[in-house]
Every structure is written in structure tokens, then in C-alpha cells.
Amino acid sequence: MTSVDPQLAETLEPLSAPEVEAKVFVAPQWKLVWWKFRKHKMALICGVIIILIYLIALFADFLAPFDPSATNSNFLYAPPQALHLKDAQGNPGWYVYGLTSTVDPVALRREFVQDTTVDIPLKFFVKSWPYKFLGIKSDLHLFGPQDPTQSIYLLGADRLGRDLLSRMIMGTRISMSIGLVGVLLSLILGIFLGGISGYYGGALDQFIQRMIDFLRSIPSIPLWMGLAAAMPLSWSPETVYFAITIILSLIGWTSLARVVRGRFLSLREEDFVTAARLEGASNQRIIFYHMLPAFTSHIIASVTLAIPSMILSETSLSFLGLGLREPVVSWGVLLQDAQDIRSIATAPWLLIPALAVVVSVLALNFLGDGLRDAADPYAR
């Protein structure tokens, strides 16, 4: 070899970046994430849908036209009624036709016929069933029949003649919140255990990893079923609700812990963490001040992706009758009525809550996917 060792690449490295890119270099991380996320049209749309769904959950009482637990023996399994925009006289507005029920003498089944001579007018901001929102008593609702004693079923009625639309709107509250609460619990567990595992490593890491492996290798539904079935029937709906979230997060934390651990492991080797350590920063300060901000975006993305599986799990458990129970209303509880082909054949609209599940889960998945892509704005 001659005496030549030109590190050309190094001597010739660019000294500074072009002016145009300067904006990118000084932008804070959240801004970069937002710029990248903005490019995902689908995720953006789904984000809006999710916000809408949570607004529905928040204002559920105001939005539900009828008391979700009010039964009506005249309208068992009443089919959905279509809206029309003119009454018989041609007056504009929005109306549904009345329903008359007859009992088929042979099959002994109630049959419904639309009575096109009767127009039931609807309007915005009607006063109907009373509720309490943030401690304020009210009976104002977004819409409903002008005459609050009238019954209309835009999405049909269930086996007790309850309005499916109102029940679905109320169910949004439980179904969407159980995802959030469950994920929150999982997150606390996941960050705590995953963080310890990734930051300290060694035997502790090994132990936690084996725990995770084990929990993931058990089929979750049988486990949940076993735990849920062991809940005493005497428990109040609130207790059951929290017990279910705890049961669900029992396995949910594992995937979040993996994400946290993975990030910790890679960040631990980063120069800025070494620099902080050399400056004598405490472990606590390194973790919370230096490392956590570096992967909050990843955590947000993982959380968004964890919520849908929580929602699905709750739906599955309640569907089987092992999760939440009446009088609590969640989408899973509503789907209990659609357990077998016989009830679906008589009242296919009972499957509509499934649509709510699918839409929210799909939207959350798209949103989470977009967030995950945007989470690392420095990657190309």
C-alpha cells in the first residue's frame, strides 16, 4: 500500500445545508410530525371521523332522540323508517310515515306496514326525555318528533321496542371510552414495565420479556372469558365496567411495553443520552427529560393502534354475554341481540351497531397508521 488514505468523503462533506432547508432544521419535532402527518389524506380524514365519534360520545344524551331504555310493547322489532322531505300536502320539512302493526294469525308474528297517510313531522331542538349532563338537568334534544309521545324508529327497534338509534348513540359512550380507559391502564403498565425493561436491561429485562412472551402466548379470549365469568353477578355495572377494562389491559400492556422497550433500547445508545449521562444527569432526568420526549410520538401512534383492539375485545366479550351487561349499553351489548341467524333473519337491522364498531375501528387504524408513519419525522 502507498501512504495514501484519503478520507475524501469526509473532507468533502457539505459544510452547511442550503438556505431553503433551514426551516426544516429548526422546526420543533411536533411540527415535523404534523407536516408529515398532513400528507396522509386518509389518516387526516379518519382523524376527523374519530373526533366526531368522540363528540357523539360526549353529547350522547343530547343527540339521542329517545330514552335508550324506554320500551314499547307495540313496536317490538319495528323495522327502520325512512325519512321523506314533504308531507302529503307537499309542505316541506322532514317526516316519517306512521307504522301500523298487525299480527299474522298463522305465524303468530307481528308484521309492520308503513301507513303512508300518516306523516309524523320531526323537528330540531325538541324537548323530550330528561337527562343530566355535567350536572345540568335538561330535556333538550337535537331532534325528535314534534310530538314527544310519538315513537319513530330511524334504525328500527329491538326485541323490547327500544329505539336502536338512541341506543347506538348512547353505546358510543361506553364502547369508545372503554377503549380509552383500557389503553390508559395498559399505557401506564406498558411504559412502566417496558421502560424498566429497556432502560435497565439485564435480568429484570429478561424476566419482563418472558412475562410478555407468556401473556402473548395464551389465547386471550378464553383467558378473558375465564376472568370475566368469575365476576360475581352482584357487582354493579360500574364495577363490572372497571373490572372489564382491567381484564382487557392485562394483555393490552404487553404490546405497548414492547414498543417502549424497543425505543428505550435504541435511544439508550444515542449520543445525546450518553452526553446527558456524562454531564451527570440522574436516571430520572435522563428518562423523563431526554428520552421520553424523543418517543412520545411513537407512543401516541401505538396508543392509537391499541384502542381499536380494546374496542373489539370489549365488543367480543359483551357479545358473548361475558362482558358488560344490561342495563349498560355498549355496541357489544347491542350486538348480543344479533347472536344467531334466527334473530338476524327477523331483524337484520340489529346488525347496524356492528357498522359503528367497524367504522370506528377502521378509522382508528388508519389514523394510527398515519401517526406511526409520521412519528419518526427524521426518517425518510
Binding site: 418472558r210 412472551d213 407468556f214 402473548r216 402466548s217 395464551i218 389465547p219 386471550s220 379470549i221 378464553p222 383467558l223 372469558m225 375465564g226 376472568l227 370475566a228 365469568a229 368469575a230 360475581p232 381499536p308 373489539l312 365488543t315 367480543s316 357479545f319 358473548l320 354475554g321 361475558l322 350486538l335 344479533a338 347472536q339 344467531d340 341467524i341 338476524i344 333473519a345 337484520p348 346488525l351 356492528a354 364498531v357 367497524v358 375501528v361 377502521l362 387504524n365 388508519f366 397508521d369
Partner: protein
């Protein structure tokens, strides 16, 4: 390779032990011991049981002894005598109730895994090789929907459509004449004819996820230098892709068995309930509803063990496929 298998078997033991503890805890969760539940159950049905029988039961399962000994008696009974305890709802030994259903669950899961692979493999390769093509977008969208819609909802919708447009309702895994027939080739064929649709529905979300994983992995592998080496050798493009990057992207495929299996078994329980399949699902559900805990706990144990074994098999397959694991 042998030492690899040996190490994996050793690693499996604590997992199996933990699984048995979980099952045992579930058995123990409801208030009251088994004998009193048994008696209460019989009394509810207007039956009585002699004090002697009760004492015998207590002794056989060590119910009057500390929990540790109860666990010991329970687990050794299972390991050495295949005695899973009694089902008080059916008044039969658990082992006589569950095996048929467990086999069917395994069949369903196995066929489902195979279908998942068969479908995901070509689609995953297509999506990666033709990244950003129209087909890729369509499959990605379908994949998202597949992940988001639980199997039992798909089953409900399909059953409704079948009822509405074909006027028939099918359920179960056998035609009437084979329901209680002995196992024969004809019965197996009948089973497979009924099995593919539930298996397909069950595999839906796994398939979607697998396509996503295969696509992502293959995209990574396609950028590796060894692909260029293969092309520079003069290999035709399809062969360069199939022999090298696809082969490497296959690893997650095989290891899916490990994580797909718990999901499949979970899914099969709900799906079986909806489609009325004679697998563990409906039996487990009923036993849990009636707190028939030996039956429920045993099924949870066997399903967990089956999952662990499935993971073990997938690890072995993975090692066969990837020398880097085999020789580590």
C-alpha cells in the same frame, strides 16, 4: 439443530407451568369449593348426593387441603392419569367431554393457518414487488378492513346474506349423516367441505396482517445488496426475487404460527358460537356461564398448551428455514 430443539423444549417448561397456574387460578376464582358447587348444582336439579360421595370427591381432589397441594393433585392427575376432574353440569369426567371438540378446534385453526398462508403469500409478494400500484392500494385497503372487522361480524353478515339470497341456513361442521358417525375418510372429507368457510372467515384478520408484514419485510429485503448480486449473476427477475428476498421475507411467515395461533383460537371461540360449530367455543362459553370450572379451566389449559406447542413448532420451522438461527 438437536441442541436448538432441546433448548427450546427447556424454555417451554416454565411457560407450560405458568399456563397451568393460570388455568388453576381460574378454576379457583368463583367462591366456594368444587364439592359444594357440585352439591348445590345437583340439589338445584332435584338430585341429592350422599355425604360419602362428597367426602370421596373432597379427598380425591384434595379440596380440604392447602391450595398448593390441591394444585399438585390436580396437575399430577392431568399429567399422569389424564384426569382433568369432573364436570358437574354434565356429571362426566372432563376428559370425555373435551377431546372431540379440541381436535375440531385444532383442525379449524390448522386449516385456517394454511388458508391464511396460501392467500397472504402471493398477495404479499405482489404488493411488495408492485409497490404503489393500483393493486397494491386495493389490497392494502382490503387488508385494513380485514384487520378492523372481527371474524364473528363477518360470519353474521355472511350468514344473513346466505339466508336472504339462498334461503338456507348452514351451521355446524358435519352433514347430518356424519354428525355422530365414527371417523372415516368420508367423514374427514365431509368435515373439510364444511370447514373451509369458517376457516376462511377466521383467517381473515390474520391474513390481512400477514400481507402487511410480508409486504413490509419484502420491501426491506428487496433493497438488500444480495438481490443485486442475484441479478448481476444473470438470474431472471422472478427467480432472483423468489429465491432470495422472498425466501428471507418468509421468516415472519413461519413465525406467524406463533402469534397467529392464540388469535385464531380466541377467534374460533366466538365464531363457533355464532356459526354453531361443535368446537371448544360453545362448550367453554356454557361452562363459564354455569361456572362449571373444572371443565372451563381444563379447556383453557389445553388450548394454552396447544398454543405453546404451536409456537414451538413454528420456532423449529423457523430454525430449519434460517441457518442464522440454527447455528447461533
Amino acid at each position: 439443530m438437536l441442541s436448538f430443539i432441546f433448548r427450546r423444549i427447556l424454555a417451554m417448561i416454565p411457560t407450560l407451568f405458568l399456563a397451568s397456574i393460570v388455568a388453576f387460578v381460574i378454576i379457583q376464582l368463583p367462591p366456594g369449593d368444587f364439592a359444594t358447587s357440585y352439591m348445590a348444582n345437583l340439589a338445584a336439579m332435584g338430585d341429592t348426593v350422599s355425604q360419602d360421595t362428597l367426602e370421596n370427591l373432597r379427598e380425591a381432589y384434595g379440596l380440604d387441603q392447602p391450595v398448593m397441594i390441591q394444585y399438585y393433585k390436580w396437575i399430577t392427575g392431568i399429567i399422569f392419569r389424564g384426569d382433568y376432574g369432573l364436570s358437574f353440569e354434565h356429571r362426566e369426567p372432563v376428559s370425555s367431554l373435551i377431546w372431540d371438540r379440541i381436535w375440531l378446534t385444532m383442525w379449524l385453526s390448522l386449516v385456517s393457518v394454511l388458508l391464511t398462508w396460501i392467500i397472504a403469500f402471493p398477495i404479499g409478494i405482489y404488493s411488495a414487488v408492485k409497490q404503489y400500484s393500483a393493486g397494491d392500494y386495493i389490497f392494502t385497503l382490503i387488508g385494513f378492513i380485514g384487520v378492523s372487522v372481527p371474524a364473528f361480524l363477518v360470519a353474521l353478515v355472511l350468514m344473513y346474506l346466505q339466508f336472504k339470497y339462498l334461503g338456507q341456513t348452514t351451521s355446524g361442521l358435519f352433514s347430518d349423516e356424519y354428525i355422530s358417525a365414527a371417523w372415516s375418510w368420508a367423514r374427514v372429507k365431509d368435515l373439510l367441505a364444511h370447514l373451509w368457510l369458517p376457516a376462511l372467515i377466521l383467517g381473515l384478520s390474520g391474513t390481512a396482517e400477514l400481507i402487511r408484514i410480508l409486504r413490509a419485510n419484502l420491501l426491506d429485503e428487496l433493497r438488500r445488496p444480495y438481490v443485486i448480486t442475484a441479478r448481476a449473476k444473470g438470474l431472471p427477475e422472478w427467480k432472483a426475487i423468489l429465491k432470495y428476498p422472498v425466501r428471507l421475507a418468509l421468516n415472519p411467515f413461519v413465525s406467524t404460527l406463533g402469534w397467529i395461533l392464540p388469535g385464531l383460537i380466541s377467534g374460533s371461540i366466538i365464531l363457533s358460537q355464532v356459526m354453531n360449530l361443535p368446537t371448544t367455543g360453545p362448550l367453554l362459553l356454557r361452562s363459564l356461564q354455569s361456572q362449571d370450572m373444572y371443565l372451563a379451566g381444563s379447556m383453557i389449559l389445553v388450548l394454552s398448551v396447544a398454543t405453546v406447542l404451536g409456537t414451538f413448532v413454528s420456532d423449529i420451522l423457523l430454525a430449519l428455514l434460517d441457518p442464522r438461527i440454527r447455528y447461533q
